[in-house]
């Protein structure tokens, strides 16, 4: 094994290419891999199948790639608040597959955990169930299949050279699941720490799920909808 640690986004994302499927962690703009997204924007690779809950928001995050027409297919649960995606979806430039968010999470976990299919009640009796096998357990369910990807780009608060990760607050969201589900998982961190600095019990993603890691820079950590208590 060569080391998992790379100098920066340019070094870590050396083998992306047109047509890849790409998972990106984050909920809205919370916990998104800013450096990796900017590097993909710089590379200009095309025909990306993006798998991410929102595919960017408010013109930022993966919307940077949308603006450059780098994304041709998107699997996500929510497109509201993302005018770039809505526009390109209606224009037929991006093929969007909407997946209920819990099913989206569980399908990604299934890919990572080697589960080949599962039954869930979510979506039963709706458009989501069309074309899917239905089966009645205690409640009627539909069969859903794993959702994996060629690459995952992930942002964590802390990570070590083996790839053990720790996330802050609600920045965790889909990232641990995507780290498990992609063939190559590339992580950027706020802090690259020494082995053992993340307490073994508190590792959120064991390093075996991570292939590459680098220290990120210049984080914007944008707040989408700031709301404050009246003081």
């Amino acid at each position: 094994m060569t080391s998992k640690v790379y100098a920066n986004a340019v070094a870590a994302l050396f083998d992306l290419r047109d047509g890849i499927s790409l998972m990106s962690g984050g909920f809205g703009l919370c916990g998104i891999p800013e450096n990796s997204i900017q590097e993909i924007r710089r590379q200009g690779i095309k025909n990306i199948h993006a798998i991410s809950n929102n595919i960017g928001n408010s013109g930022r995050g993966l919307a940077w790639l949308l603006k450059q027409k780098q994304i041709s297919a998107a699997t996500c649960s929510y497109v509201g608040g993302n005018p770039d995606l809505e526009e390109q979806m209606l224009a037929g430039e991006v093929q969007v597959t909407l997946v209920p968010q819990g099913t989206f999470s569980e399908r990604i976990r299934a890919a990572g955990m080697g589960i080949r299919g599962f039954y869930t009640p979510a979506g039963y009796g709706t458009l989501v169930a069309e074309g899917k096998e239905e089966r009645v357990f205690d409640v009627p369910c539909i069969l859903e299949l794993p959702l994996g990807a060629d690459f995952a780009i992930i942002k964590a608060e802390r990570g070590d050279r083996f790839g053990n990760l720790w996330f802050k607050e609600t920045a965790r969201n889909f990232s641990p699941l995507m780290a498990m589900a992609a063939r190559v998982t590339i992580v950027e961190v706020e802090q690259l720490v020494e082995l053992g600095e993340i307490e073994p019990e508190n590792v959120h993603v064991p390093g075996v799920f991570v292939q590459r890691i680098y220290q990120g820079v210049d984080y914007e950590n944008a707040i989408e909808i700031p709301m404050y208590a009246e003081q």
């Binding site: 909920f27 809205g28 703009l29 919370c30 916990g31 809950n53 928001n57 996500c76 649960s77 929510y78 497109v79 509201g80 608040g81 809505e86 979806m89 909407l98 209920p100 968010q101 819990g102 099913t103 989206f104 999470s105 569980e106 990604i108 976990r109 869930t120 009640p121 979510a122 979506g123 039963y124 009796g125 709706t126 458009l127 989501v128 409640v139 608060e157 996330f167 802050k168 607050e169 609600t170 920045a171 965790r172 969201n173 889909f174 990232s175 641990p176 699941l177 959120h204 950590n221 944008a222 707040i223 989408e224 909808i225 700031p226 709301m227 404050y228 208590a229 003081q231």
Partner: protein, 228 residues
């Protein structure tokens, strides 16, 4: 049609939902009106608010000093948390819902029908937003409450015999709170649990056979609140 009715305000609707919550309950709040619930829970009522992006123990809003870009709710708004809060990944978060561990889930809606089906994610031919977590949230919580205004801007009732918009979930709703009252889907009709003061059943916008009376526990009848 609703212009001159003595409707409940949003705050009154929210307070009706808050009154349904038991001390110690866990609660998921959908985006939109339900979000206001977090701010109307009295301090002596311990409610554990879940947001499906991966947090249990939402308490309200941060100050400008405590605000954190990594601490948001499912509406992507900044929040704060109470002592005893926890964070987790999205699969665990939806498992909490799907597995029946959350007591109450409150969602917004476009239409609800007497069968308990909900439509709240799509109007064919109009803007598409995606279902987000709604299709999962309607399965699993012990009580699913839908909050919505009783009438559309065109004056059509949103409580129907059968939804006409694409469904979010089929036979999933337990209670409906509108600005006219509180209703329980019964299959072919709604049972009226409570009406806003001054509202009568014939103002509810659907034929009489759609409504069923029910007695309150104290023996009073909701009709007594009305001019019927």
């Amino acid at each position: 049609m609703s212009d001159n009715l003595p409707l409940w305000s949003k705050t009154e609707m929210v307070d009706e939902v808050v009154a349904m919550l038991d001390h110690g309950a866990s609660l998921n709040l959908g985006i939109g009106i339900p979000t206001l619930i977090a701010e109307r829970i009295p301090p002596d009522k311990e409610i554990w608010i879940h947001s499906e992006n991966g947090v249990l123990g939402v308490s309200g809003r941060p100050t400008r000093e405590t605000v954190s870009p990594t601490l948001i709710n499912a509406g992507k708004e900044t929040i704060s948390v109470r002592k005893g809060a926890s964070y987790f990944d999205s699969a665990t978060s939806f498992g909490m819902i799907r597995g029946g561990h959350i007591d109450v889930c409150v969602l917004g809606g476009m239409q609800v029908d007497a069968e308990g089906s909900l439509a709240n994610w799509m109007i064919p031919g109009k803007k598409v937003t995606g279902m987000g977590g709604a299709m999962d949230l309607v399965h699993g919580a012990k009580m699913i409450i839908v909050m919505l205004t009783h009438f559309s801007k065109d004056g059509d009732a949103k409580l129907l015999h059968r939804c006409t918009l694409p469904l979010t979930g089929k036979r999933v709703v337990h209670k409906v709170v509108t600005d006219c009252g509180i209703f329980t889907p019964m299959g072919d009709s709604f049972r009226i649990e409570k009406l806003a003061p001054g509202i009568t059943y014939d103002q509810l916008g659907l034929p009489l056979k759609m409504w069923t009376r029910s007695l309150f526990q104290d023996g009073s009848e909701p009709w007594e609140n009305t001019t019927d």
